[in-house]
Amino acid sequence: MGTIRRPEPGYWALNGALIALTFLTLYPFWHVLMYSISDPRQAMGGGIFLLPKGFSLDSYAMMFQNSGIFQAYGNSLFRLFVGTFLNVLLTATLAYPLSIRRFLWRTPLTLFIFFTMLFSGGMIPTYLLVNSFGLVDTLWALIVPSAISAWNFFIMKNYFQSIPVELEESANMDGATPIVTLFWIVVPVSLPVIAAVALFYGVFHWNSYFDAVLYIHSQSNEVLTVFLRSMLNFSAMESSRSIQASDSAAMANISEESVKMATIVASILPMLLIYPFLQKYYVKGVLIGSVKG
C-alpha cells in the first residue's frame, strides 16, 4: 500500500467515458450561451463551436424590447412564488394530521390519497371541472389544480412520522394546539424535507407548461415557457407571437435566431443561478421520498 498505486485497468477508459458524457451533457447549454452573446450578423453564418463569433449583447437588448417577455416573466414568477407557498402550506397541513397515529381514519384517508396516484379522470374531465370553477384563463388555473402532489405529501408524511412523539407531547402538555405545534415544533425540525419539497414544487412550477397551454388563452396571462415555445416556433407555421420585425433598419439586421437564444438563456438563468444550492436539497428530497413507508 505504501507504494504508488498503478491505475486500475480500465481507469482511463472509465474516466474518458465520463468526461465525454459530461461534455455531451453540458455542451448544448454552452452552445446556446455562446450563440446568444455572439455578434448576431456573424452568428447567422453558423460555425460557433466553443467560442462566440464576435461579441455583442444586442440580442439581449432586442429581447427586452419585446414587452411580452416581461409579462411572461412576471406571470412565471407569480406562479412560482404563490404556487409553491400554497403547495407547501397545504401539503404540510395535510401531512401533519395524517402522520399522527391516533388520528382516526388515518389509514383509509391515506389510501384515499394514494389511489389518486394510480388512477385519474384524465385531461378533459379535469379541464371541464377547472372551467366550471371559472378558473380557466386565470393564473389560478395553474396553481389550484396542482395544489398538492400525492408524491410530495407522502415524502412529508413519512418524515413527520420519524420525528419523536415526545417532542410534540411536551408542546401539547403546555396547551399548544396542533396548529401551533406544527409551525413552532414540527416545521423547525423538518426544514431539510420542507426545503426539498418546496424545491420539487418550485422546479415543477417554473418548468411545466402544458397546463398553461391547456388553461391559459389570453396573452396577458401567458407564462414564460409558453411564451418561449410560441417564440421558438419550430414549425415556422404558427408565427403568432414571435418577435415582431423592428422598424429600425439596424435592428432588422439582427437575426431572429439570436434573440431566441437570448430568450432561452434568460429563461434558464434563474435556475442556473440557484442550481448549486438547490441540487443538494433536491437530491436529499428524492432520497427521503424513496424510503418505502
Partner: protein, 336 residues
Amino acid sequence: MRARTQGTEEIEPLVSQTKRVSQADAASQVGRTRRTLDIMKKDKWLYFMALPGLSFFLVFHYGPMYGVAIAFKDYNIYKGVFASEWIGFENFRTLFGMSGFQRALRNTIIIATYQLLFVFPAPILLSLLINEVRNVKFKKFVQTSVYLPHFVSWVVIGGILYAILSPTTGVAKEIAMWFGHGDAVANLMASREYFRGLLITSSIWKEAGFGTVLYLATIVTIDPHLYEAAKVDGAKKWRQIWHITLPGLRTTIVILLIFNVGSFLNAGLEQVYALYNPIVYEVSEILDTYLYKLAFEEAKYDLATASGLFKSTVGLVLVLLTNVLAKKIDKDSGLI
C-alpha cells in the same frame, strides 16, 4: 309505574343475566361512540387542518373521476354532464374505429416501448460507471453536471435542440462538414425517420443523469464485505458488477420499473408537445396530444374523455399486473 317496577323486580332473577350483558354492550357502544367523539373533539384542530387538503383531493382528483361519465354519454356542452344522454360504449366503438386514434395508439406504444428499452436502463448503466470513479471531486463534478438537464423545461430543451440541429447554423452542420457532407444536413426535427430517435435520445440526455440518484444511493448500502469476498475468490470487476452490484439494485429497479410501466401510455406529453411539429405528426402524435386536439380543435369532448379513460384504465391495470408479477418473482419487491 310502581307496579311495573315491582313486576320487573319479580322476574329480575330470570332476565338479569342477559339484560345486564346487553346493557353492558349498549353502554360500551355508547361509550365507544362517545370516546370517538371525545377524541375527535380533542383533535378538532387536526381535522380542521386536514380539511383543506382532503377537500382538494376530493374535488380535484375524485371530481374528474366522476367526470369520466362523459365517456359513456353523448356529451352536449350546453346540457352538461347530468343531462346528456347515456350511450354506453358507443364512444369507445367510434374512437377505436378512427384512423387518427389508431395512429396515436400505435405511436404511443412504439415510443413507450423504445423508452422502456433504452431510456429506462440508461441511468442504471450510468450509475455503474459513476460508481467506479475513485476520485471524489471528479465524481461530484460528473454528478452535478449530469443532473443539470433534469432541472430544465422541455420547451427549453426543444430550443436547445433546435439550435444544435439547425441545418444552417447548428453544430450538427459543423460536424457534418468535418465529415465532408456540408450541404446535405437533414433537419432532424422535421424528419419522420429520425424524430422518434430524437425523442429517445433527448429523454436519455435529460433524465439519465438525475435517474442515477436512487441507484447510486442504493449501491452505497450494499455490504462491502461481499466485494471483498468476491475479490478473494478472484472475481474481476465485471463479475463483481454482475453478481453483487446488479442484484443489490434489484428492488430499486423493480419499483422504478413498476412506475414506468404504469405511465407506459403517457409516452411523455410535455416532451412530445414541446418538440413536435406538423411535419412529424405521422410518427409522433401520441394519445395525449391526440385527445387534446379532439377536445379543443374538434370539440369532441366525449371521444377525448373516452380516450383518456382508456389510457388511465390501461395504466392502472399495468401497475397492478406488474406489481403482482414482481411479487411473484421476488416477495420483497413491489409497490403495494
